[in-house]
Each structure stands twice: as structure tokens, then as C-alpha cells.
Amino acid sequence: MDFGGINPVILIASLMVASVPILLAALGELVTEKAGVLNLGVEGMMIMGAICGFITAVHSGSPVAGFVGGALGGAALSLVFAFVTQVLLANQVATGLALTLFGLGLSSLMGQNYNGIKPPLTGALLPGFLREIPVVGPIIFGHDWMVYLSILLVAAVWWVLKATRLGLIIRAVGESHEAAHALGYRVRLIRLGAIAFGGALAGLGGAYISLVRVPQWVDGITAGAGWIALAIVVFASWKPWRALIGAYLFGGITVLQLNLQAAGSRIPVEYLSMSPYLVTILVLVIMSSGRGRAALNAPAALGQNFHATR
């Protein structure tokens, strides 16, 4: 049941795996932006997570420890961003870019001695026989536990933002930090937390790349995934379930074009490898055309720094 040399069941299963890193990173950035902060340093946080996770996993022998290490690495880097933008009130766009450049360099430095090493493998969650079930097996039952965790996190973020007081406060801070401050909420602290959460999730996503997807450490292993995650947040109109769809869409295109290349498709290789980026641009244009910021569901205070005048 192949189409042009590609098996759709395997395609869907592999796109779910391919999407995990960008899904996690997009989800984290979504929360950060909901609180009103634009953190362009996702790429830097992801790759820090990749190397920190890798190093932790290799030295501890445990993939779980690796993921924790990756999350901590991403969160630590994000706190630098948090300090410079929330306390020192620097421009968020420039600082985010600095974060990416710094993260890329630092990860490369840290990874000097780790080329070619294989990390401890992350196992599948469910028993192997379930994977044998045709069609549903590989798609639903055959994944490693991180895939399931990522979907769970989408649900958790959706629920917290929609139904809890914490989520309400985060949304309020992103809407109008002046009003939130006047009501007595600690704007800086909440934003710091949101930034750290975004960093942790980006780090988790990066760790997935180095521990599961590849799995190895190479310089620049994230290859622009962080930027795609930022685009997914816009595509999702800051709604968690839409982010899931967006991640699967982009993951799907990436996997599809690789499969087409491998299957010897007549479309030239260059056009195929350009396609994820061109599709990203197309999607961004469609999402932003014609409607104003309010209709886009963007938090009103996104990107603006807050300085309390007491």
C-alpha cells in the first residue's frame, strides 16, 4: 500500500516523532508569549538542551536524566534572557537574537568532545506486540514515551491557561502589564516563570533531537527548528491544540520531503529541501493577512518591556 514508494502509515508515525521537538519548543514559547514576552532565542535554548541532555545522558547512562538535564540547560539559558530583558529592560528582539548566537556557540563549545558518541537509548513505552497491529500499531502504540508526554503537555498547557487562576493571571499579564501591576500582581515574577518554562520545554525538545531523533551530537543539530517553532506559535494563534496541528504539519512536510528524496522522486532535491521553509512563509502570510493583531489573538502587551513606576 505504498504511494510513489512511500508508506503512509510509516509516514504518519515518523512525522509524529519528527514533530516532537518543534511541538515542545512551540508550546513553551506559546506560554512565554502569552505572558507578553517575545523570546526569539528558541533556537539557542533548544540546542543548549540538546547538548546538556546529551552530556547528562552519556555520563549518567539514563535517558530520563538526559531529558531532565536538557530541560534544565534550556531553562538556565532562558534565565539569562529573562534577567537582561525583565530586569535590565533591554530590547526583547535583540536580546533573543543574542541568546541564539550565544547558545549556538556555547553548545558547540561544550560538545567538542562528544562527537560520534552514542547516547543511551530511549525506549518505547508500550509492549512491542502492540506495534504489530496494522495501521494503528505504529501510529498510536509504537512510540517512545516522550511522544506521549509531549501530547500530554499540550493538554496540560491548554487546561492551565483556560481553567486555572495561574493561567488567568498569565493571560492578564500578557494583555496589560500596567493593569496587572495596578491590581497587585508581580508582573516580573510571572514573566520570569513563563520564560523559564519556555526555556525548559525548548531544552526538552532539543534533548529529544540529540537523544532520540538523530541520536547523536553534531554541531548545529537543531538546523533551524527553533525558528520553525516560532512560526508555529503564530500559526497556532497562541492556542495549544492548534500548535499540535501546526507541529504535525511542519513535521510532516519535513519528513515527506526527505522520503521523497529517498524514494528517488523526480522533483529536484533542492526544491524539496527548500519546501519546509517556503511552506512556513506561506503559512505565516495566510495567518497574518487581512486581520489585525486583536483578531490574531496575540497578547496585547507582546514584546513590550514593563517598568514599574512606584
Partner: protein
């Protein structure tokens, strides 16, 4: 009866200073249980700072506060709320993209679950004659309705002291009456009310006691029912007030013509203009009234050229300018001053010289083939500073360093000194002390006498009645037919403003 009530909140010797200004100096007064107490003073007198300290937003430098005799030092609004103090801010702390119930929940310490909260909002708001639908987005509400959200948010916490900071600037006269009935009801139930305002007639009709602040100090206390408005005004300002001098001038030909102007609002949750039409002759002042949020900002944007329309919707001296931008409209003879002086009328981080260039570039010929003549610009800035008595160390100072009143004088002066044919100003004297306000109004009248056509958009009815020849009201984006100011009554104005939007008299059970 007044003296038998116990003291609820007392402040003693409170002082608070900021860099460059002493906001409150040795302030002492007290509020009794169930009293409606006015805190009176003009803009800049220190009222807002005082109540921010009562609400835990700001810490006093020295002095103390007591609540029912015990020390009261709220470290945050949350603590103030738990003690029983509730506050309705002048500038609402609301979140436009969230609904009413969510907004109320954010203003409460321990809000009940949403369903229960929504039911309570419905019940309490009906009870006090301020009905609200908990599921509506706050951004879709009118200013008066938004104030209701603020008030309900406070009432749901059973406050002992309700502080209201300039509440009536967003209400029509009829809505003010309903608000007052609600407040009197609350007062008779034992809730004390601290009412901050500079509107003397309102205070005289509502309040039992008044403390007057001037330049941060308490200059007196009064019983508003026993004093005249003039007495209160003179205590507030510290001088006798003279109304501006009007020179009867000839009304010339029509300088500004607006016909059938309809534009969509570019502001999120803004109000679109619908079929606005009016003319202004040379030498005439048209006053446009209306509570905030009815299209004032949009009207200024449409007149200044930021919002474009078809060419002959707006005509200056009979030339169609509707599709031209601000620079071309200035060339045609129109100058304008938006409401927000810091951020819109002036760039906060740029010097006064650069800010002078911002609008005077065209009419003062400050560019040559695109290159800027900085010496000439500096000379103009200094001329404005001198003629309009702008207190500043120099023209090189950043706009944000000036006080509100001085910056407003600069902004208005910058426009008026360009020898314009048409002048449009939105809120010429908000947040400005009485002396500066008077000089700004005088300058406007002088220019009118020299032949300019002037449009003044203002929420201050007294101001408009003072300087306008003709009067119109913006209501939900529509302009009423302009009519002469003579003979206009407050009731008529109130009706032009749209009456009371769905408010009913409070039907709380009479005790």
C-alpha cells in the same frame, strides 16, 4: 449624626516624594465609617498618590495610617483588599481581551469558581442598578459599562471603604445621577466612600465632608453642603479665578468642512465614525463634547490625516484634503494636537527641538531639499518655550523630562504658533494645573480672534461652555447637529450624549 460615627481610616503626617517633586507633604485627615468624604484638589495636587498609599501600591516616606485604631501598613493591594479597602481607578485596570467574569476574578483575592462568580456578578450588578453580562468581552463595553465592572469587582468583596478616583469623567450627566444614588445607598449601609474629584458641583451634591489638597499639602477641610462652589474652588486653587477674555471677532468664511465622514477605527476595540458632518468658520470655536470612547480619538486621527478618507470628505479652505496625510494637511493650513502628549503628540525620548521639527517642519520651512535646518528649528523651539512660558532648563531637554502641564503648553504652543488656518485639539487641558489650563484656553481664543477656525474636543463640559461658540456631541461615533452654545442646558447636553446607557435606578430593598 456626623460626629457620632467612629473613625475608620486615619492618615497622619504622610509624606511622599519622587525625584523632582514632593507629591504629598505632611498630610493628615480622617474618614469616618459610612461617610462620603471628598478629596478635593486640582490636577497635580497629590490626590492619586495619597490613595495609592492607602491601597498598598506605594509606600509613604514617613507618617502613619491607622485602620479602626490599629496600625495600617498595606504592602500590596492584596493586603489592602483583605483589610476592606477597595478602589476604582481613574484609568481602569481592565483587560480588554478577557471577559467580565475573568476581569472581576483578577481583582479579587480568592474568587469563587467561574460559574458561581458569574451568578454573583449578575445578581449584585442588578441589585445596584448597574446590570452586567459576565460573559461579554470587556473590550466591547462602553466606558460607563467598564466602570461598572470596576465597581462590581469592588462590591463583591464587601468593602468597608470604597475609594473612587475621578469616576465621573466617563459618564453622561444622567449616569452620574444613577451612580450617586448607588453611592448613597452604599453609604447608608455603612460603607465609607472616599471620593476624589475636582468637580465642585458633584462634591457639593454628594459628599458629607471634604479635605482639600493643594500642591501636596492639606490646605483645609470643609463641609461641602455648607460651602459654596466658589469657596471650595478658591481653596483648591489658592487664588481667585478669572474666566478667559473673549474678544468678539468677525466670523469669516468656512475654513473647515467635514461631510459624511465614515471611517473604521484602527484602534482595537475602538469606535468607528459614522456620517460625521460639520463646518467651522474662520474665527469660530466649535466645541465637541462626549465621554471617552465615543470616537474622539478617531475623529482627531481622521482630521489630522492619520486616517484617510475620500478627498472631499474633509475640506480645508475649500480644498479637498480627505485623502492626504498629515504633512500635506499641514501644508494646506491645518494643525492638530492629539490627546496623548507623551507618545503621540511628542516623542518622549527626543528633545524639544526635535519635537518642534515633528510638526513645524512644513509651515516653518525647516527643510531644504530634504536636509533639516537645525538652527532654525532650535530657534522655533525656543520661541515656543518663551511665548508659552514652558518651564524647562532648555530646548535640548527630552520631552519626557517635562511635567505634564509644561509639555502640554509646549505641544499646544508648537501648533498655535504656526499661523494655522485650522486648529484641531483633543483634550487641550487634561492633567494640567489651573494656571496652565487657563493660559492654554486664552491662547486658543486669541488665535480664533485672529481668524483661525478651531475645533476643541473635550470631556470637560465646563471648559467647552467657556470657550466654544458652537457645540456638538460625539456619541458612539455619530456627531449631533452643532448648535450655538447660548442657552444650552446640562440636561440637553446629557440627552445629546445619549442619556443613561441601560442603567436603572438602584432598586435595592429600602431598609
Amino acid at each position: 449624626m456626623t460626629d457620632e460615627r467612629t473613625v475608620l481610616l486615619a492618615v497622619e503626617g504622610i509624606t511622599k516624594a519622587y525625584p523632582g517633586v514632593v507629591a504629598n507633604s505632611d498630610v493628615t485627615f480622617s474618614i469616618r465609617r459610612g461617610e462620603v468624604h471628598a478629596l478635593l484638589g486640582e490636577n497635580g495636587a497629590g490626590k492619586s498618590t495619597m490613595v495609592k498609599m492607602m491601597y498598598g501600591l506605594v509606600k509613604p516616606d514617613s507618617g502613619r495610617m491607622t485602620w479602626n485604631g490599629a496600625a495600617y501598613t498595606p504592602g500590596s493591594p492584596g493586603e489592602a483588599r483583605s483589610t476592606g479597602v477597595a478602589m476604582v481607578f481613574q484609568h481602569f485596570s481592565l483587560f480588554e481581551a478577557l471577559n467580565v467574569a475573568e476581569n472581576v476574578a483578577l481583582g479579587m483575592e480568592n474568587p469563587p469558581p467561574m460559574k458561581e462568580l458569574s451568578a454573583r456578578i449578575r445578581a449584585v450588578s442588578e441589585e445596584y442598578g448597574l446590570p452586567l453580562d459576565p460573559s461579554r468581552m470587556v473590550g466591547d463595553l462602553s466606558a460607563g459599562e467598564r466602570q461598572r465592572v470596576e465597581i462590581i469587582r469592588c462590591l463583591l468583596q464587601d468593602p468597608k471603604l470604597l475609594i473612587m478616583d475621578e469616576p465621573t469623567s466617563v459618564l453622561t450627566p444622567q449616569e452620574v445621577e444613577i451612580l450617586f444614588k448607588t453611592l448613597r445607598q452604599l453609604s447608608s449601609e455603612g460603607t465609607a466612600i472616599l471620593y476624589i474629584s475636582h468637580k465642585l458641583e458633584e462634591i457639593r451634591s454628594l459628599c458629607d465632608a471634604a479635605t482639600i489638597l493643594r500642591r501636596g499639602k492639606v490646605v483645609g477641610t470643609a463641609d461641602p453642603r455648607a460651602s459654596t462652589a466658589r469657596e471650595l474652588a478658591e481653596m483648591m486653587v489658592g487664588a481667585t479665578l478669572t474666566p478667559p477674555a473673549r474678544r468678539p471677532g468677525e466670523k469669516g468664511k468656512v475654513m473647515l468642512g467635514v461631510s459624511d465622514l465614515s471611517v473604521a477605527s484602527p484602534i482595537p476595540f475602538g469606535t468607528s465614525l459614522k456620517n460625521v458632518a460639520f463646518t467651522v468658520a474662520a474665527g469660530e470655536v466649535l466645541g465637541i463634547a462626549g465621554v471617552a470612547g465615543n470616537g474622539q480619538d478617531e475623529l482627531l486621527l481622521a482630521l489630522s490625516g492619520e486616517l484617510k478618507a475620500s478627498p472631499d470628505r474633509v475640506r480645508i479652505d475649500d480644498a479637498p484634503v480627505g485623502d492626504l496625510g498629515p504633512i500635506d494637511r499641514r501644508r494646506a493650513g491645518m494643525v492638530s494636537a492629539p490627546e496623548d502628549r507623551l507618545g503621540h503628540a511628542a516623542a518622549p525620548d527626543m528633545s524639544l527641538i526635535e519635537n518642534a521639527f515633528l510638526t513645524a517642519q512644513v509651515r516653518k520651512g525647516l527643510t531644504n531639499k530634504g536636509f533639516i535646518d537645525w538652527p532654525a528649528t532650535r530657534a522655533y523651539a525656543e520661541a515656543v518655550i518663551k511665548d508659552f512660558d514652558v518651564r524647562t532648563p532648555g530646548a535640548h531637554v527630552a520631552a519626557r523630562a517635562l511635567s505634564g502641564g509644561n509639555l502640554q503648553k509646549f505641544v499646544v504652543g508648537r501648533e498655535l504658533m504656526q499661523a494655522p488656518k485650522v486648529i484641531v485639539i483633543n483634550q487641550p487641558t487634561w492633567g494640567v494645573d489651573a494656571a496652565a489650563a487657563a493660559s492654554i484656553r486664552q491662547a486658543i481664543l486669541d488665535r480664533a480672534a485672529e481668524g483661525a477656525a478651531v475645533v476643541v474636543i473635550s470631556q470637560d463640559l465646563d471648559e467647552l461652555l467657556e470657550i466654544a461658540d458652537r457645540f456638538a456631541v460625539l456619541n458612539e461615533g455619530r456627531l449631533t447637529q452643532p448648535r450655538p452654545v447660548e442657552g444650552l442646558t446640562i440636561d440637553e447636553i446629557g440627552l445629546m450624549m445619549g442619556g443613561a446607557h441601560g442603567m436603572e435606578v438602584a432598586h435595592h430593598a429600602e431598609a
